[in-house]
Structures are given as structure tokens and as C-alpha cells.
Amino acid sequence: MVSLATNDRAALAWEVAASVPDPEVPCVTVADLGILRDVRFEGDVAVARVTPTYSGCPATLAIELAIETALLEAGFQARTERVFSPAWTTDWITEEGREKLRAYGIAPPVSGSNSIRALFGETVVACPKCGSDDTEKLSEFGSTACKAQYRCIACREPFDYFKCI
């Protein structure tokens, strides 16, 4: 059992939960993605609140289990809580998270994209390898719910784009 002053305890629990990697995009943590909302204490139990990225994201349960396990291993009693409101948006991905995605070869979501409103609106996505804007969408759907497939015309490299929602 961890015995720390209340503030230290909360900060440490956040630190532990925040460092859990996303199971499908392991280059970023749940905090980078903005899906870990907060960690609060109810008595001695650390309650981590998580917002799913997509309604049907199959990783949601795995993420909750990973966070709970990390907290348990750090000596906390822990549980997770799923919160839907407000809904997650890619705007919650941190600047650091965006950089990590780019370095990993995944183009980060374009902020303020018009992809919700426009029926056929196209977004300009820069190639994560060479930075060229000369890219084309191969498919709006990729290996996971949150990604689309693109190709760079300049360097010919195919890449994933983290869709903006």
C-alpha cells in the first residue's frame, strides 16, 4: 500500500496511469491521446476516467485493463470508469502526441479539419516521411478504426493518417 500525502498520491497515480501506451498505436500514451481524462481518489481507490475514441473501438477494454493493472502494480487500489460526455475528439491529442505520431510514421490529425461537415470534403494531409503536401487518400478506412490509408505522391511512401473526428 502506498502511503503518501494526498496531493502526492494523486500526482503519482496520474503519472502511472498516464504512462500506459495505447495498445494499437503504442508510440503514444493514453495521456498523449487525451483519452485518460483524470485520476481521482474515492477513499483509497484510484478511479481513472477514460473516454473511448470511437463507439466501437475494440481497444477500449484493453486500455481500461492496462490502466487498472498499471495502477495495481504501483500499489494502488484501482478501478476505471468510462465517460462518454463530452465526446473525445482528435483535438485532445497533445502537441507531444502529434509529434510522436509523426515520428512513428503516422500523419497526425489535421486540426480544425472540415471532415465532419463536408460530404466529400478533402483534407490536405502532409506526408509524415518527407513532409510533402502532395498526397492522396487510398481508403478512408485503415488497420484500426482511427486511421485512414494515404500515399505520398512525392516520395511514393504509403502511410497511415490518424483521422480527424
Binding site: Y54, S55, G56, C57, F84, S85, T89, S139
Partner: protein
């Protein structure tokens, strides 16, 4: 405030639509004409089934009898499912699958948009996710409807045949059950009828680009909202409920 029985029934209508359509789409997994489309249809199915889980869970809470998402999804009888007939229609060919998706999503996108103003916080949360997902369901299915409608002679013929086959089932998308009416009045869920104009505009705009014509519907088909389903529904449930019925009380 609508009674909890009304909210429960109206939520079940929504969740059943999503579960059954999601199940239909999942039947394409591993069978779609190209790999990209296989991934796309599986992704769309996941959105719908994932959304239905959230709605069932909330419906179970509202009902207050201790039923969870699995009880509601798997352990009801056919007549207790309240999905509209459109979503249970067979996949048949690619034209029919894409058109069914367009018809459904073209209503549900504005529906969830309107539900963002619900006075029920859980519904607002569910709507916040769904509205974005439905937007790309519309976009994806519309692209296909246009590509096939304005494609080869054969694809155009199949697309127009799908329209004739499926259009009679669209009227039921706007059916307001007593429960749905009570929830609309109470401000917890949107009024489907009020979204008809927007739906029609979307369909008209896509059909114009797809060179398709909206047929005159003399006999609109309905019954699902009262639990009266077509023959296909029994086949869907047989597959969907098999594990739970064979091993009652199983846990994952």
C-alpha cells in the same frame, strides 16, 4: 420528463437498429470485393455495434431491472426487437448494402446532431460520438452509390434495382412510436419526422449525382417498430444468439 418505460423502449429502437445493421455489415467481413472495402465495412459495423452496446447499457439502467447490454442484445425474443425493417434486409449485392447504409446514415447523422441538444447527459455523450461516425458513413456509402449509379451499364442497372427494392422500407425510418413521441416531447430524444426534409435533401443530392431516380412508393413497408419482422430476422437472431442460447449464463 418521459416515463422510464418510454425512454427504455425508445432506446431499444435505436440500439436494435444499430445492432442489426452492424450484424448485417459484419457478414461482409472476409468477403468484400476488395481488401480496402473489407476493412471499411468492418469498421462501419464496429461503430454501429459499439454504439448499440452503449445504448443497451443505458437502456438497462433506465429500466432498472438489472439487465445489462448482453441480456438486451442476446436474450430477447424476436417480437421484442424494435428495429426497423430496413436494417434487417439482406446484404444481397454491394449496391443494396451501400444504399441501405446511405438511407440509414442520412437520417442518423442529423438525428444524433439534434440529440446533442438533448436534456439527457448520457444521450448527449452517445450522440457526440455517433454524429461524427454517421458523417463518414454517409460519405462512404454516398461515394459508392454515385460510383455504381454513374458507372457501367451493369452497375447502374443494379443500383437502380436496389433503389426500387429498398426505397419502400425508408418510410419506417420516420415512424414515431408512442415511446419515441413521449421522449421527443420531453426533450430527451429528437423527433424523427422533423428530420425528413434534411434526409430527403441528402438522398436527392446523391441520387442526382448517381443518375438515379426516386421511385414512387405505393406500398411502404413497416412493422419492425412494433416487433413484426420479416423472415430474415429469425435467421439473423439464430446466428446472433446462438452462443448465449446454447450456454446460458456464460461469461467472457
Amino acid at each position: 420528463m418521459a416515463g422510464s418505460a418510454d425512454l427504455f423502449a425508445a432506446l431499444i429502437e435505436l440500439a436494435d437498429d444499430q445492432l442489426i445493421l452492424g450484424h448485417r455489415l459484419s457478414e461482409w467481413s472476409g468477403r468484400a470485393p476488395i481488401l480496402e472495402e473489407d476493412l471499411a465495412l468492418s469498421n462501419l459495423a464496429l461503430d454501429l455495434i459499439g454504439g448499440s452496446r452503449n445504448i443497451y447499457t443505458y437502456a438497462g439502467l433506465v429500466e432498472g431491472k438489472g439487465r445489462d447490454e448482453d441480456d438486451l442484445a442476446y436474450m430477447r425474443l424476436e417480437r421484442e426487437y424494435l428495429n426497423c425493417l430496413l436494417v434487417e434486409r439482406g446484404n444481397d449485392d454491394f449496391a443494396q448494402t451501400m444504399l441501405r447504409q446511405l438511407y440509414f446514415a442520412a437520417l442518423m447523422q442529423p438525428y444524433w446532431q439534434a440529440a446533442l441538444a438533448s436534456n439527457d447527459e448520457t444521450i448527449r455523450g452517445i450522440a457526440g460520438k455517433a454524429v461524427k461516425e454517421m458523417a463518414y458513413h454517409v460519405r462512404h456509402s454516398a461515394e459508392w452509390v454515385i460510383r455504381l449509379g454513374d458507372g457501367t451499364a451493369q452497375s447502374a442497372e443494379k443500383m437502380q434495382a436496389a433503389v426500387v427494392e429498398m426505397h419502400p422500407f425508408t418510410e419506417e425510418l420516420f415512424t414515431m412510436s408512442e415511446a419515441a413521441r413521449a421522449c421527443a416531447k420531453a426533450g430527451s430524444l429528437p423527433d424523427r419526422e422533423s428530420l425528413r426534409a434534411e434526409w430527403s435533401r441528402t438522398i436527392a443530392s446523391v441520387f442526382e449525382q448517381a443518375l438515379l431516380t426516386v421511385p414512387e412508393v405505393r406500398f411502404p413497408q413497416s412493422g419492425g417498430r412494433q416487433g413484426r419482422h420479416g423472415e430474415e430476422m429469425g435467421h439473423i437472431l439464430a446466428e446472433l444468439q446462438y452462443v448465449q442460447r446454447t450456454h446460458p449464463g456464460l461469461t467472457w
